[in-house]
Symmetry: C2
Subunit: 337 residues, 2 copies
Amino acid sequence: MQEERRLAVLRAIVEDYVSTEEPVGSKALVERHRLGVSPATVRNDMAVLEEEGFITQPHTSAGRVPTDKGYRLFVDRLTTVKPMSPAERRAIATFLDGAVDLDDVVGRSVRLLSQLTRQVAVVQYPTLSRSTVRHVELVALTPSRLLVVLILSTGRVEQRLVELETSLSDDELADLRLLVNRAATGEIIADAAAALKGSVPDVDGHAIAAVVDSLVEAMSDHRSDERIAVGGAANLARYGDSFDSAVRPLLEALEEHVILLKLLGEASTGGAVTVRIGHEGPYQELASTSVVATGYGPRDEALATLGIVGPTRMDYPGTMAAVRAVARYVSRFLDEG
Amino acid sequence: MQEERRLAVLRAIVEDYVSTEEPVGSKALVERHRLGVSPATVRNDMAVLEEEGFITQPHTSAGRVPTDKGYRLFVDRLTTVKPMSPAERRAIATFLDGAVDLDDVVGRSVRLLSQLTRQVAVVQYPTLSRSTVRHVELVALTPSRLLVVLILSTGRVEQRLVELETSLSDDELADLRLLVNRAATGEIIADAAAALKGSVPDVDGHAIAAVVDSLVEAMSDHRSDERIAVGGAANLARYGDSFDSAVRPLLEALEEHVILLKLLGEASTGGAVTVRIGHEGPYQELASTSVVATGYGPRDEALATLGIVGPTRMDYPGTMAAVRAVARYVSRFLDEG
DNA sequence: CTTGGCACTCAGGACTTTCGAGTGCCAGAG
DNA sequence: CTCTGGCACTCGAAAGTCCTGAGTGCCAAG
C-alpha cells in the first residue's frame, strides 16, 4: 500500500515536471496533489524511488526529475488514456474531410498531428508492399518510348519511362497491355511481380522484357516505401535549453528519412500506440527525445506508420491519445477511399 | 581615392565579420588586410561609413558590424564572383548525374545546395505554367471511373480521378482520347486549357465535359506550382545565438511554402542571382535572414527558382557562386532530359 | 509508518571588480 | 588636406564574491 503511494508520487512527479519544466520538490508536490501525507513522508518515498532508478536529482539540494526508466513505468502502468474532447474529434474530422487524394491526406495528417501535439509530426506514406495492383497502363509516347504507369489500390501512382530497342505497333502494345494487366491486376505487388516474371517466357522480344523489368522495379522500388512527410519543425523552437545537444541531432534525423523510418518501424506492431523513450533504441544522439507512434491503414492493416518525435519530457497521455485518434481517423478515411 | 579606400575598408569589415562572427575593430583590420594605412586612419574611415549608415557599433567601445545597407553595397559593388573550384564542379556534376527522374533531380539539388553552402536550401519544382503538354492518357478503371493522366514536357505527371455519370464505351473513350490529345498535345498548358474548353461545344455529353474540366483543373491547379523541396534545416543549428528571434520564424516560414514561394518569386528575374538582404521585403520576422536565389530551367527559360535562406551574416560571394553553379547544372540537366 | 524539527548543501541571482579592446579627438608631420 | 601617433575615456564581458532559499537527509518522537 505504501507501494501504491510511491507510484502515486512518481505519477505526480512526472506530471508536475512535464508541466512546469522544473525539478519538483517534496513540498510543492504535497501542495499540488492532495496526497494526504506530509512532505517528510514524500521525501522518504522519493529516496526509495531514486534508489530504484525511477527519478534522479540534477544536483544535491534540487528537486527530482524522472529518469527514462521513470517515464517508462509511468507510460506502462500509470497512464489512463484520456479520450479526446468532442471539440478535438470534430477538429480532426473536419481537418481530414477536405482531403482530395493520398498526398493530401498525408499532408493534412502531418499538419493536424503537429498542431494537436505541438511536436514534430512524422507520417509515413502507405507502403506499397501490402497494396494491390489496380491497373497497369502503357502509353506510347513515341514508337520507341513507353510510359509505364502503375496504379495501386492505395491510390498511389508510380510511373516509369522505358526506352525500347525495337518499336512496338499499336496492336502489340494492346496485347502487351492486356497481358500484364491479366497477370498483375488485383494481386499484392509482391505476387504481381512474381506473376509478371513468370509470364515472360511465354512471349519473346526484348521490348516486353524491358517493360516487365521496369514494372517489377517500380513495384519493388524501396524509394516509394521510404516516403515520409514531416511537419511542425517549428515546434522545435520550444526546446529552448539543451539546444545543441537535442535539436541539432534531431534536425539531422528529420532529414535522414532512413533513420526516421527505423524509429517508426520499431513501433509498427499491432494496433497499439508504441512509445520509445530516450536512450531506448540504438541512437545515442537522440537520447533526450521520445517517439510516439502507431500503425495505420484501411481495415486495420498497418500499411504504414505515423507518430511524433519530441523531448522525453512530454505529455505522454495526451500525445498518445492524439496519435491514436489521428491514426484511427486516417485509417477510416482510407477505408472509404 | 579615399573613397576607394573606404570601400576597401567596408569590404574588409564584411569579410572579417562573416568569418569571425564578431564585431571587427580598427586594429585587427589593418593586421589582417594589408591596407597600408594606420588604425587611426581606418577609424576615420569607419566614422564616415557609420555616418553613411553602412556599418554600426553594437555598443560604444565595440568593433563595427555591417548593416543591411552595408551588405547591400558589398553585394552590389564589392563582390567578384569567385568561380567554383574544379573539385566543386566535379562534385556538382557527379552529384546530379545519377538522377533518374524529376523528383530525384530536385531532391539531389536541394541536398547538394545545402551541403555546398551550409545553409538551408530551397528548390521549387519546375512550374507547370510554361511547360507543354506531351500526352494525355485516359484510363477506364471501371466503366464509370476514369483516370486522367497528364504528362508534361518537364516529366511531371499529374493525375485526376473522374467519376462519370454515364459510362463510356471503349470506342467512345478512344475517340475522346484522340480528341483531347489533338487539342492539347504540344501546347503550353495555358493554351491547352483554352483549346480544350473551346473544343467542348463541338461534342455533347456530360462525360466529356467532366473529363475536360478535370484536365483544365489539373493544368491550372496551383498546388503543383507550389511544390517546393527544403533541405539542410540542420544547418540552422549553427545559428547558436539569436535563437528565438531568428530560427523560430525561419522554421515557420520553411513550413509555409507560400511564404517561401514569395521569397523566391521576388528573385525570378533574368539569369542573374538575386539577393534579398535582411529587412528588404515585407517580412519583418525574417529581418535577420537573407535569401540568395536564381531562376533555372531548360534552355534558360526560368521555369522555377532555387536558392538558399541564411543569416544576413553569410559568405555572399561563395553562396552566390554555389547557387549559380547549381542552377546552371540543373538547367543543363533538364535540357538533356 | 509517519511526522515535525533541524542542520546542511548548493545552484542561481545580484552585485562588484577588473580587464582590455576599441573608440574619438587632438596636435603634429607630410 | 590627409595621415599618424598618442592619450584619455567608455563600457561590455569575464571573473570573483556574497547571499538567499528551495530542497535534502536524518533523527527522535508520536
